[in-house]
């Protein structure tokens, strides 16, 4: 049963991923991205990281995917479906991706050999509580947490400054 659910989510992830890179229409690519992100959220649920699944849906689908769709809307003339989709070196790109995939699978197989027998794993306690503690703990991640807030602030101000419409009478 759990294998069937796993395979369903994997099909969502990989189908969505292939849809993202092969869709001529950029809005279809965005929809495929959302499908793929939903699949990843499903795998987080299977991994008993429910908080991460919720964050995945809120941040990725609720914010990033919507932001991408808004950008597609604002640059619509540029995404004419009749134009070339891939650049001239796309065969080389495909070769690089496949070679890298084989390398990754080979290396993974050395450390975590591929198996079909189910693994038994200790159940987690209240992970979300522990995560919240760790993010606020001076012995834990409070410094990266604060740096992350500054990063978000900087990104927000930077995005506003970059995307702002400039008028001719304005001095730069």
């Amino acid at each position: 049963m759990i294998y069937a659910v796993f395979v369903l989510f994997v099909l969502m992830i990989l189908g969505g991923g292939i849809g993202v890179v092969t869709s001529r229409n950029i809005i279809r690519a965005a929809a495929a991205l959302i499908l793929s992100l939903f699949g990843v959220a499903g795998l987080y649920v299977l991994l008993e990281a429910g908080f991460m699944a919720a964050v995945q849906i809120l941040v990725y689908i609720g914010a990033i995917a919507i932001l991408i769709i808004f950008t597609v809307m604002m640059t619509q003339r540029a995404t004419d479906p009749t134009r070339l989709m891939f650049n001239t070196q796309w065969q080389w790109s495909l070769a690089v991706a496949v070679v890298f995939l084989l390398l990754l699978v080979y290396t993974l197989n050395l450390v975590w050999p591929f198996t079909t027998s189910a693994e038994t794993v200790a159940s987690t306690g209240d992970v979300t509580f522990e995560l919240g503690r760790a993010l606020m703990d001076p012995e834990g991640f409070v410094l990266p947490f604060e740096v992350a807030s500054i990063l978000l602030l900087g990104a927000m101000v930077g995005a506003l400054a970059v995307a702002r419409e400039r008028h001719d009478d304005e001095e730069e």
């Binding site: 991923g17 690519a29 995404t79 070196q89």
Partner: protein, 102 residues
């Protein structure tokens, strides 16, 4: 539970799909979406390895949270750059953005 290696192979596949998208697509928005796929593969790896190896420490989850933060910042700045370029050049094809090339 499903063996750990299955998650790692799915993650490797997703990452390589993202690599191909970044290298081969001409549309800048499609490249950003492929980068999101790669970041998702990384997060899936982090959480799967955390779950199977160290479920008692929330370290893997904390790393995944920081990847989320960086992904959000990257998407915001990247899309702002795309909008800014579109205002100037009326297209978002990365092949034709050769202002810094000589």
């Amino acid at each position: 539970m499903v063996p750990l290696s299955w998650y790692l192979i799915v993650s490797a596949l997703l990452f390589c799909i993202g690599v191909f998208g970044v290298l081969a697509r001409r549309n800048a928005i499609a490249i950003l979406m492929s980068i999101e796929l790669m970041l998702n593969a990384v997060n899936l790896n982090l959480i799967a390895l955390w779950r199977y190896n160290f479920p008692e420490y929330p370290t893997g989850l904390a790393f995944a949270v920081f990847v989320f933060v960086v992904a959000a910042a990257e998407a915001a700045v990247g899309l702002a750059l795309i909008i800014s370029i579109y205002r100037q050049r009326r297209h978002v094809v990365v092949e034709d953005m050769d202002l810094l090339k000589f």
